[in-house]
Amino acid sequence: MMGWKIIKTIGSGLGLTVYTATASAAWEVNLTPGVTDVSRSVFDLHMTIFWICVAIALVVFGVMFWSIFHHRKSRGAKAHHFHENTMVEVIWTIIPIIILVAMAVPATATLVQMYDTSEAELDVQITGYQWKWRYDYLDHELNFFSNLSTPREQISNEADKQEHYLLEVDRHLVLPVETKIRFLLTSNDVIHSWWVPALAVKKDAIPGFINEAWTVINEPGIYRGQCAELCGKDHGFMPVVIEAVSKDDFNQWLADTRVAEQAEAAAAERVWTLDELMQQGEQVYLRACAACHLPNGAGVPGAFPALKGSAVALGDVAAHIDIVLNGKSGTAMQAFRDQLSATELAAVITYERNAWGNSLGEAVSPAQIARLLTPSTGEAEQ
């Protein structure tokens, strides 16, 4: 049985090779030149330095292999006795310094350009979470989370992997082209690093601090990247997807998104049945909670607590709501009040109290959650 499984694994691996070899991106060996002026200068710098290294390598290894070939004992070579030459040694100290200065000049110019975050036309705050990104359009009072959208079945090899496997998200970061965009990066928990190769932007998102980066995208298109700094268990599963569109399309998208948000808020006001909540709750749970607490609610002993049969999920509902909305400080449990809508929160809490053998039979209503979410009336009273 085991042997057959291994053969199947290897077989599908080879099959995959054939599949990807036909795709254009297979056997990619170099950096992308990208779609911004900065990314092009970075690419040019990269190639310049690469060729300088190749040239030096040819000379050094050339002399070395020439000696290996000609100055070998089996060819009757007799060892000479020289073992120092100040002139030669000074020359091969000076020449590298000159080459390095020649490299440093364009590198400095590009770096200075990359650090000039002034005069941005659009500010986007990017916050890293374990393991998703939150995008906040500061000038437009719009923010949302962007989660990996690759189905679990593909990751666990129960379904065929699609073209953008692990590089696809539920909500793209939509950005206008030909606009100077400033990114303000921070984190909610550990250090993440936001990276989009096509923009040559990689900047760490550090909890408690704000980093800056900027870009001007020249061409519309979809650009994909990933978190680059180890940030825990699902570090490999928090991609970045940018959708660069024309300025008009961007404004249209802003308007459409607002309308959709209002509809979502209105949905919280109607009455939801337990079944409806359970159904949506399962989807939300798999997207937002299952990474740590696992799809079956069993958790990971010593790292992430179980929800199945847990004191929180079966105990006082107010305490359960509190921990989901506000998180638990000092642990990986995040505050979900800004991540999910009132309906989603109600659904997922209902789900946790009624799934995997937890059966309280009571529903948490979206309206109840919506009241808790309305801008800090509760806190103002205190």
Binding site: T32, V42, H71, Y115, N157
Partner: protein, 533 residues
């Protein structure tokens, strides 16, 4: 009178042979015994860390999660790094120093033999504790060998405390080892062996030992700060309490960058011993080799933030660290040029140690080139934390540090065991390792440039082909190390008798004494051989 003298002498010899049984190894103060223990320990750790690497490469053989969970994958990358750095490479160099430094400088033993015993025997306990975390609830450390806060503090598994204590113990061991080497080299050289006649292996180790004493306390400091944050309510690295997570990285890399030179300077020393032997020609530019080593050591304290180009340090800082890092290419280049000039117009033969040394020069230089590329800050934004970095540091550590250790072991084995190595098996090991290492690590340059981040258990489809190639190479490289084990054991057990000067072109005090080297050497200070006078 003369009869009395001889009886006393014979008596003394009887008392100073190796003790019998376990006691010999537990209580030994003999530099050769301790050197052997260091080397066997590091070989064991090399295989343990290697198995972890193979588990990583097996999971990465194709996209999707097949064999191990992401959480366990992170434990594997973390433990692989820690074990290879602190358990395999560093103890191997200390083992070589223990064996060779006293014999090269004509000393009877290390300067502080009891401390020598202690500094070795700490290690098995430190690593037993580190490895035991794999079986603890919550699992082993999973935050990478660089253990960046707050992933390693607020968000760490409970086993992090054991990890911190293990690091403290390894640090104590390293510091004691370093003190011993410095004391030995400075105080116990044979008459007439001035500093500028010191064999280069001793010079590079002296400088390495100074680096160790300078930075191991910094590592101890940073893990202690973590311990305080985790258990005693401080906030060194917690922004919520007024601390700064980036402070961790500054302190860590102030240790970490000299640390990478700690893992390569002794390698330079070994290669500088081997190439002249098999080129039958004195090392070119001895003095400039010494100065280059010293300047690399000094520069290593001024470049730490090149590991942190993306954390958002100010432009001026970014430029300073970029320029300083690029400067390191100059002394490193001098070394490579000197080795090539040593081969030039020599009379070369290509026994196994020389093959490893030549591969070292070529492949380490390739690692140096990618290092230079990484030094260019604006381009580093694209390389940072990708497989390009993984390719870079594996090129300087595997065909760099590890090849140099293997070269050194093959070179000095005849002196240790009294037997010549089976050249055919040595060459087989070399060629399989050479091919394996390149198939493993060269494609990593490509997947890194194409955009694959490091430390991920699963990847997008465009990285699939080269990952598969790298995994195949890794298994080839890993399995061919069994030949190394076989070679070493075979050479200990028997083989053609080695002469005092086991290699035709070998020069230095260690080749003036018989092979195998007697249990006690240089009870009286030796005369320097012609070549050193």
């Amino acid at each position: 009178m003369s009869t009395l003298d001889t009886t006393l002498h014979a008596d003394a010899h009887e008392h100073h042979g190796p003790a019998k049984g376990m006691g010999r190894w537990l209580f030994t103060t003999n530099h050769k015994d301790i050197g052997s223990m260091y080397l066997w320990f590091s070989l064991l750790m090399f295989f343990v860390g290697g198995c972890m690497a193979l588990m990583i490469r097996a999971e990465l053989f194709q996209p999707g999660l097949q064999l191990i969970e992401p959480g366990f994958f992170n434990q594997m990358t973390t433990m692989h790094g820690l074990i290879m750095v602190f358990g395999a490479v560093m103890p191997a160099f200390v083992g070589l120093a223990n064996w060779m430094v006293p014999m090269m400088i004509g000393a009877p033993d290390m300067a502080l033999p009891r401390m020598n015993n202690w500094s070795f025997w700490i290690l098995p306990f430190a690593f037993a504790m580190l490895i035991s975390t794999l079986f603890m609830e919550g699992g082993a450390p999973n935050f990478g060998w660089t253990f960046y806060a707050p992933l390693s503090t607020t968000y760490a598994p409970p086993s992090v405390t054991y990890f911190i204590f293990a690091i403290h113990m390894m640090g104590i061991s390293s510091i004691m080892g370093a003190i011993n080497i410095i004391a030995t080299i400075l105080n116990m050289r044979a008459p007439g062996m001035t500093m500028m006649k010191l064999p280069l292996f001793c010079w590079t180790w002296l400088i390495t030992a100074l680096l160790l004493i300078a930075v191991m306390p910094v590592l101890a400091g940073v893990v202690t700060m973590m311990l305080m944050d985790i258990h005693f309510g401080t906030s060194f690295f917690d922004a919520g309490g007024g601390g700064d997570p980036v402070l961790f990285q500054h302190v860590f890399w102030f240790f970490g960058h000299p640390e990478v030179y700690i893992m390569i300077l002794p390698a330079f020393g070994i290669i500088s011993q081997i190439i002249p032997t098999f080129a039958r020609k004195r090392l070119f530019g001895y003095a400039s080799m010494v100065y280059a080593t010293a300047s690399i050591a000094v520069l290593s304290f001024l470049v730490w933030a090149h590991h942190m180009f993306t954390v958002g340090i100010p432009l001026a800082g970014e430029l300073f660290f970029m320029y300083a890092t690029m400067l390191i290419a100059v002394p490193t280049g001098v070394k490579v040029f000197n080795w090539v000039a040593t081969m030039f117009r020599g009379s070369m033969t290509f026994e196994t140690p020389m093959l490893f040394a030549l591969a070292f020069v070529v492949l380490f230089t390739i690692g140096g080139f990618s290092g230079l590329m990484l030094a260019i800050a604006p381009v580093d934004f694209q390389y940072h934390d990708t497989y390009f970095v993984v390719a870079h540091f594996h090129y300087v550590l595997v065909p760099g540090a590890i090849f140099s250790i293997m070269a050194g072991v093959y070179y000095w084995l005849p002196k240790w065991t009294g037997h010549m190595l089976d050249e055919r098996m040595g060459k087989l090991h070399f060629w399989l390792s050479f091919i394996g290492v390149n198939i493993t690590f060269f494609p990593m340059h490509f997947i890194g440039l194409a955009g694959m981040p490091r430390r991920i258990p699963d990847y997008a489809l465009q990285f699939a082909d080269f990952n598969m190639v790298a995994s195949i190479g890794a298994f080839l490289f890993g399995l061919s190390q069994l030949i190394f084990l076989w070679n070493v054991i075979a050479c200990v057990r028997g083989g053609r008798k080695a002469e005092a000067r086991a290699w035709e072109g070998a020069e230095g005090l260690e080749w003036e004494i018989p092979s195998p080297a007697p249990y006690h050497t240089f009870a009286t200070p030796p005369q320097l051989p012609e070549s050193l006078r």
